[in-house]
């Protein structure tokens, strides 16, 4: 992203947030930091993807808590569903565009989808992307729905692979050695497992 477009973004936030200097600089700092992570993640950097999703989870939690009420039981479910969408839909991000409006667009869509599912008439006003990045809540709640349980319908191999990489933190290569599958087969299996989780996370409440 060039300096000119970054300045444009800063200006936009500055105007719509009432010109508070601290907010302006922090949001543009978030944009620069998250966009760099997103670009590295798109190039296949797992560590960057993990940092990106961790950072986003804090903003998402605070955003959904503000919209649904601090004690709503489905905040963490919605955070997880949105993280799955951010990950699975990342090809739809245009590298020439700022990242925060894209992430805000995904989060707001998932919030509206949630409202529709629970039959709520609440509305989510279309705000500036800054609305998502105004606060950070990095203390995870208990998820009401257990995505891990959703894995139970998967073939044992895929399930084990996901557990290997998530709980024991194995790399693809280590998981591939342990399971005796090729690294690319491990990748395909994990991807299928992730897609299955996303499908079931969306379908369970219907």
């Amino acid at each position: 992203m060039g300096a000119a477009s970054l300045n444009g973004l800063v200006f936009r936030f500055a105007r719509e947030d009432g010109g508070i200097g601290a907010v302006t600089s922090s949001v543009s700092g978030v944009e620069a930091r998250l966009k760099a992570l997103m670009l590295r993640g798109l190039d296949g950097d797992s560590a960057a993807q993990r940092d990106l999703l961790s950072a986003l989870s804090g903003y998402l939690r605070a955003y959904f808590a503000r919209r649904l009420g601090r004690d709503a039981s489905d905040i963490e479910d919605l955070v997880q569903e949105t993280l799955l969408a951010v990950h699975l839909k990342r090809a739809s991000y245009d590298r020439a565009q700022p990242f925060t409006p894209w992430a805000y667009g995904v989060a707001r869509y998932k919030l509206l989808d949630h409202y529709r599912r629970i039959g709520s008439r609440a509305e989510a006003p279309l705000e500036d992307a800054g609305a998502l990045f105004a606060a950070d809540d990095s203390a995870p709640r208990e998820a009401r729905r257990d995505l891990g349980r959703l894995l139970d319908g998967l073939p044992e191999r895929q399930r084990n692979l996901v557990r290997d990489v998530k709980i024991t933190g194995l790399s693809i290569e280590e998981a591939s050695q342990r399971s005796g599958m090729s690294a690319s087969a491990v990748k395909v299996s994990i991807h299928r497992a992730v897609q299955a989780m996303a499908r079931r996370a969306r379908d369970e409440d219907r």
Binding site: L83, L84, S92, Y109, G148, G169
Partner: protein, 213 residues
């Protein structure tokens, strides 16, 4: 599953995404869709027998440019509509400009005709079938465009569905132009436009549930 565990699983799934991923997907989708449309046209009605002479005339290219411009506008819109957080871009302006141009051509044409022959000019010989044939020929494009949109992340599903419909109508009508022998700008402005507007209406209406992700 704890959120941190989910994040770890997703990070393990972070394989590289090519920069060209979106356009490659649309290119393949449109290649397949155009082939199916051309097949419908060829099997159902056939290419006009005088196509070689027709390609040396202005009305042929007027129709082709009008319909292709709307198809390109639809493609530009659909690519934007599938990406969260971006504006719709130039597609809307291009569609509006193309429509304004065909209206101007039609008006100019009618002004140079006696009022008594306006009706014949506007109705041609195929007004009754033209829009429905365009609807049929565009159907595979519409279905494939909707499927490709679902692979992306449309956050305004009605707009996205309408854009997919415009892409389908524009491409389908361009293919139909290889069969249709009508030459009047007034005919094109009325009946082609009507035919191309049908899928956008369907797309806008069903977008909310058909494009859910």
């Amino acid at each position: 599953m704890k959120t941190d565990d989910l994040i770890a699983a997703l990070a393990a799934d972070a394989s590289p995404v090519r920069r060209s991923a979106v356009w490659t997907r649309w290119a393949l989708a449109l290649l397949l869709a155009s082939a199916l449309s051309a097949l419908i046209m060829a099997l159902a009605w056939g290419v006009r027998p005088d196509i070689h002479q027709a390609m040396r005339t202005t009305p042929f290219w007027m129709k082709a440019f009008y319909t292709a411009a709307l198809g390109v506008a639809g493609l530009l819109m659909v690519e934007r509509a599938g990406r969260p957080g971006v504006r719709l871009g130039w597609g809307v302006a291009l569609a509006a400009a193309a429509f304004a141009a065909i209206l101007a051509l039609a008006a100019h044409e009618l002004m140079n005709l006696p009022m008594a022959s306006w009706r014949a000019d506007m109705m041609g010989s195929s007004a009754r079938v033209c829009p429905w044939r365009i609807l049929a020929i565009s159907a595979p494009v519409f279905l494939i465009a909707m499927a490709t949109l679902r692979w992306m992340a449309p956050t305004r599903p009605a707009v996205a569905g309408a854009a997919a419909g415009l892409l389908a109508g524009g491409l389908g009508a361009t293919v139909y132009g290889l069969h249709c022998q009508e030459t009047a700008a007034a005919f094109t402005a009325m009946w082609y436009t009507f035919g191309m507007a049908l899928w956008p209406l369907v797309g806008a209406a069903i977008g909310r549930w058909a494009l859910r992700w």
